[in-house]
């Protein structure tokens, strides 16, 4: 795990002696210097936003909303709703679809990657088909999915699955092939059978790469969902973006963008937490 992903408290309390010396800590607050700099950068960005849109009027409101307009759009979204639902309804609608598509992709992609990693026969059989389908950008599947399944949820899950499947397969596969050969030999000479080899050597050895794949899959899920909802949907944050664009409502566009960003970051964070718990042997 890279340092910026790690919660500041965890780093201060952690035993990791490898933490770079350059990052000094403010022990009383438990916040690293990096955290302080990060907060400064956010405050600076917000100040710049206010100065450009409100203080100087350098950026016209029809191009980019001022903080006050943003606040107004957010209030409207939360209380009255927009494009068929309030913030919570729309956000949950999108999040639910992302999670469904992601879970389906992970549950199919990771096993397939494992299979291709351990079985040369499976690799020989599946790899050509995979190489053929892989260059098609996930978003290019959206029209087909709509033709097949319409504008409802099923089409969205299908498209997310197509998009999120590939990184899970490839990274799992790479992870399996990257497992230390000596560890496999060590398991063999101590009597491990095939199942134990898979569950106790190959999967744990590939786990860091599997999580890299899952993270990419999750990001692909959000990207694809928003795109698919932009193309055509009844609900969801992409639908909100599309409606706000038609209404020429930059403030609502910005609100929807920020909500997507926060949800994407939050789900990635949850995945990182799962990784941290599942890989306790990593220093």
């Amino acid at each position: 795990m890279s340092a910026p992903d790690m919660p500041a408290q965890g780093r201060a309390a952690g035993l990791a002696p490898a933490a770079p010396r350059a990052i000094r800590r403010l022990p009383a607050l438990g916040i690293g210097r990096r955290g302080v700099v990060g907060a400064l950068s956010i405050v600076g960005l917000l100040a710049l936003w206010w100065v450009l849109t409100t203080g100087t009027g350098f950026v016209a409101p029809y191009r980019f909303p001022s903080p006050a307009e943003f606040r107004g759009a957010l209030d409207q979204f939360v209380t009255d709703g927009y494009a068929g639902g309030t913030l919570w309804v729309q956000a949950w609608h999108s999040t639910r679809l992302v999670l469904m598509g992601f879970v389906v992709a992970a549950l199919t992609g990771v096993p397939l990657g494992l299979l291709m990693g351990v079985s040369p026969r499976a690799e020989a059989l599946l790899n050509p088909a995979f190489l053929l389908v892989r260059p098609i950008p996930p978003l290019a599947w959206i029209p087909l999915a709509i033709v097949w399944l319409g504008l409802g949820d099923a089409a969205k899950v299908l498209v997310i699955w197509f998009a999120a499947f590939v990184p899970s397969v490839i990274n799992t596969w790479t992870g399996v092939r990257g497992v230390d050969r000596t560890l496999i030999a060590a398991a063999q000479v101590h009597g491990a059978g095939r199942w134990r080899m898979l569950t106790e050597v190959i999967i744990p050895g590939a786990l860091p790469m599997i999580f890299t794949g899952l993270r990419l899959s999750l990001q692909a899920s959000w990207t694809t969902l928003v795109a698919a909802e932009l193309v055509g949907a009844f609900f969801g944050l992409g639908r909100v973006l599309d409606a706000a664009y038609r209404d020429i409502n930059p403030a609502m566009i910005a609100v929807a963008m920020v909500v997507v960003g926060i949800l994407g970051a939050a789900t990635t964070k949850l995945l990182g937490e799962a990784e941290r718990r599942l890989i306790p042997w990593r220093s």
Binding site: D180, T182, L183, A185, A186, A187, Q188, V189, H190, G191, A192, G193, R196, E200, V201, P204, G205, L207, I279, P280, W281, S283
Partner: protein, 264 residues
């Protein structure tokens, strides 16, 4: 307990440029039951290949390797290997690493706990059972690897430069501990090393290999001298000062020296 039998073993392969390379040529050697044989040789003499063939991780292109009269075709728990880079499972604790082979055999939990406790005691590692390998020093990691191999009570122990990755002081301690362990629980052992003193100190017999192609040069008996002089009761540095030790060491060293090139 089983013996290891190399019968006219050779290993040749074609290099990328198309020429044939002979890694090992016509090696015949028997490691008797409960005997400790060390193999020394310059790099490129095929000593690790020899060990890997006995393990079933590598295969001869001529001749055959038998363990306990059975031809070796694949790795198996009757021939445990201790690797130079320890090869501990990073995701398993010390306890889980040592118990790994026993779990593969389906040993009951009580038996696993008993064996783990016994080896932790023998290795002076009590209290470390819940640590992960990366939390241990190199010497401790290799102790765990040795315990993991001893724990399954293999007929044959194969050690591939097990102390090669350790610093000099740790290596000395480990050599003494291995002597203690191996005299207490003698097992048929093939020990690969490039350190002459280590070979002479640990082994019953020292096999010296030559290279280009890798082949048997001479087999030096150490056991008779060691038992006559009572090395096992002495500290390693005291043994290394004895004339009987230095005589054997110099003999082995001379067999190696004339084949070492400046680029080694």
């Amino acid at each position: 307990m089983k013996d290891i039998h190399f019968e006219g073993v050779g290993k040749a392969f074609r290099t990328r440029s198309g020429s044939d390379f002979v890694a090992l040529s016509d090696v015949s050697l028997t490691v008797a039951e409960r005997e400790f044989v060390a193999v020394v040789g310059p790099s490129g003499s095929g000593k690790t290949t020899l060990m890997r063939m006995a393990a079933g991780l590598d295969h001869p292109t001529s001749g055959q390797v038998t363990v306990g009269g059975k031809r070796v075709t694949a790795p198996g728990p009757d021939r445990a290997v201790v690797f130079q880079q320890f090869a501990l499972f990073p995701w398993k604790t010390v306890r889980e690493n040592i118990a790994f082979g026993l779990r593969c055999q389906g040993a009951p939990r009580a038996k696993q706990d008993e064996v783990v406790a016994r080896y932790l005691r023998l290795m002076n590692m009590e209290g470390t059972e819940d640590r992960y390998p990366h939390q241990l020093s190199g010497g401790m990691q290799q102790r765990v690897a040795i315990a993991r191999s001893y724990a399954i009570e293999p007929d044959v122990l194969l050690m591939d430069e097990p102390f090669g990755a350790l610093d000099a002081q740790t290596r000395t301690v480990m050599q003494e501990e291995l002597v203690r362990l191996t005299r207490r629980e003698p097992r048929t052992t093939l020990f690969i090393t490039h350190a002459v003193e280590e070979a002479v100190y640990l082994a019953d017999r020292v096999v010296v290999l030559a290279r280009d192609p890798g082949r048997l040069r001479e087999i030096v008996d150490v056991r008779a001298t060691r038992e006559a002089e009572g090395w096992d009761g002495m500290a390693i540095d005291a043994v290394m000062d004895l004339p009987s030790f230095t005589h054997l060491r110099t003999h082995v060293w001379r067999l190696l020296r004339d084949q070492i090139r400046p680029d080694d």
